[in-house]
Amino acid sequence: MLIQLCRKVLTDQVNNVRALRTIHTTVVNKTFWEKEKKSGYAQKYPLTSKKMILDGLKEFKSELNLWKEEMKEKFESDPILVFRPGEIDVIWKFSEEQDLDKWVVTSDKDHNQGLSVASFERSPAGFGLFSGNLSSELPIDGRIKKAGYCNIKSMRQRKSFKRETSFDWSTYNTLVMRVRGDGRPYLINLSCEAYHDMTWNDIYHYILYTRGGPHWQVTKIPFSKFFYASKGRVQDKQVAFPVDRVTSVGFSVSGRAGYDGNFSLEVDYIGLEFDPHETEDFAYETYKVDKYIVQT
């Protein structure tokens, strides 16, 4: 209570000072650091501390089980050492309902920035179905310039007790997916965020072209093909993605430039493979460009 009172007094004082300085109208530039990981898109859930404690206790049991498994694995210390070529290790499969719980669906409508809707559920044939309707129509708020996207993303990989971790894919070199699309191109996003705020928006992209039609397709994409972008902007200094710290995988689809309408992407599995014929480290040029031209 006392703290709240103090804070109130302080903010009032600050406001008074601000009110006095009427000429100063420059907006403070905060581009050099990120306040939080979602760059202002985080939703605030007002939870009381009592509720938080109760929820935490509920999760304690499952987290403890997870921890037990981890400890077991640690003492067994029997990691996979040989990765046979041609063998696909499946990371996500969507054969059961709870497999979809690890994924998050977003569209521009969620943040009142558009009218696209999307869902990620089980298809009648028993696979994961990412579908919806894209609309690049702008909401009339005079602020949004572009709209029309839908996205799915796997949740951040975690250890027990909500400790963040990441995938280590250093023994593989190809991403393999079995999908059935509708002819649209989709964007594959590999998020590789690390500790510092500079890396929170590091995403490596490549395009998933779909054939369309009733037949499934298996798409294999070498890791070297993924290019580096941050907040949707392709970066000048390109690097191959850090295979040992992938935090999540996602798919995006855009409705801009006349691609408005329904879309559907059925996913059977997403896996990894070691292909010995794939020797390329990075598919894009990494030569030095003129000074003061790069990253400006």
Binding site: G126, G183, P185, Y209, G213, P214, H215, G261
Partner: protein, 387 residues
């Protein structure tokens, strides 16, 4: 202020008339005096009108008032702006207004138009003369305007060419931010331009029939032996809807269909959507259920499990069941066997029934003994071709 909608059109026509009048005057000098006077009066009137229009052409709204919105008039608008005065005042505002109205004039995927817009900028004036100017974005408003123009090109999938580089370098110099943006575009865009393994012409055809052919061809690319047939429902007796059908089927699918058990039904399912660039079209499939003995059998032996190793030399137990099956064809998918795909001009039940009759004639004689069920999805898209 411009008050009427057709003002711009009348302005353009007046200009043309004016030119014609001048030509007339040059050509026929032996006309009567009274007529000449009349003409000069008319010219005066038209000149004053033109003067009025020059003052009246407001930048922001001018594109909205054009009567016929096409490429010719769009370029004409740019020309009018360029010839309005020497200084080309407010050219940034003009370019932004022009960019905003591109889609309505249907020029948003036209490189020539983007070049014409870049050409509005004065050459030489914005080139930085020293290090500080180069580093601190000389003429920022103009540079940002050009960056936005390039971004709009990028969004619409328009790839620039090297003439555009020369234009931009002439305007902003080699250190200009729009030039840097151009270089980035020219590095990345060609990489993805022809990356799709399923080629579709750019722009895709407007005609539904041509689109259907491309769509069926694309879906059938899964089997190289596939044959694409174009049927006409008029060849079927008692057909109600007269339209075209584009059907795709491979010899393997035909063979699978002959082996389909008579007891179980086949389904016509759809409409499903396939996209070819920014055009979409509905298609239908002929599907049968997988027979139970064709269900994939998984080997239960765990190779990594070393607790029960079989020694083949001392195999006293029961011999293992033979788990070999014929390798399933590509058309035997996990959720059924696909026998054929088609697009019809009307997507109606009758046209699909005609499709079955035509398939029967075209090498699928067993289809007449099978029960055929329609499984229609709710019509999410009302139109056959969405544009």
């Amino acid at each position: 202020m411009i008050r009427c909608k057709n003002c711009f059109a009348s302005f353009v026509t007046n200009r043309l008339r004016l030119q014609r009048v001048f030509q007339l005057r040059q050509l026929c000098t032996s006309n009567e005096k009274s007529e000449e006077q009349k003409e000069s009066e008319q010219i005066k009137r038209e000149k004053s009108h033109e003067q009025f229009m020059k003052q009246a052409l407001i930048l922001k709204g001018s594109f909205e008032y054009v009567a016929t919105k096409d490429k010719g008039n769009y370029l004409e608008m740019i020309k009018i702006f360029e010839n309005k005065d020497v200084h080309r005042r407010n050219h940034v505002e003009f370019i932004y207004a022009a960019l905003k109205n591109m889609e309505e004039f249907n020029v948003h995927k036209d490189l020539q138009v983007y070049k014409a817009l870049i050409d509005v900028m004065p050459k030489g004036k914005f080139i930085p003369q020293n290090l500080f100017q180069a580093e601190f974005m000389h003429y920022p408003k103009q540079q940002q305007c050009m960056i936005d123009l390039l971004e709009q090109m990028e969004d619409n999938g328009v790839m620039p060419d090297y003439e555009m580089e020369d234009m931009l370098v002439n305007i902003f110099g080699r250190r200009g931010h729009p030039v840097r943006k151009f270089w980035r575009m020219m590095y990345w865009m060609p990489k993805f331009k022809n990356l799709s393994p399923w080629v579709v012409p750019n722009p895709p055809p407007q005609d539904a029939f041509e689109l259907a052919q491309l769509a069926v061809e694309r879906m059938c690319s899964v089997d190289v032996e596939s044959v694409i047939n174009i049927y006409n429902t008029e060849d079927v007796e008692d057909s109600v809807d007269h339209t075209w059908i584009v059907s795709g089927q491979s010899p393997e699918q035909k063979e699978l269909l002959t082996r389909h058990p008579i007891k179980s039904a086949v389904y016509i399912e759809g409409p499903f959507l396939i996209w070819l660039r920014d055009k979409s079209i509905n298609y239908f499939i002929l599907r049968g259920d997988l027979p139970s003995n064709r269900q994939p059998v998984y080997d239960e032996d765990e190779y990594d499990d070393v607790s029960h190793i079989d020694v083949p030399l001392f195999g006293f137990g029961k011999p293992k069941k033979n788990k070999l099956i014929v390798k399933p064809s590509i058309h035997e998918q996990s959720d059924g066997i696909i026998y054929a795909v088609c697009c019809t001009g009307m997507s109606t039940k009758d046209s699909l029934l005609s499709w079955i009759r035509l398939l029967e004639k075209d090498g699928n004689p067993t289809i007449k003994d099978l029960a055929i069920l329609f499984k229609f999805k709710s019509p999410a898209d009302k139109e056959l071709v969405t544009t």
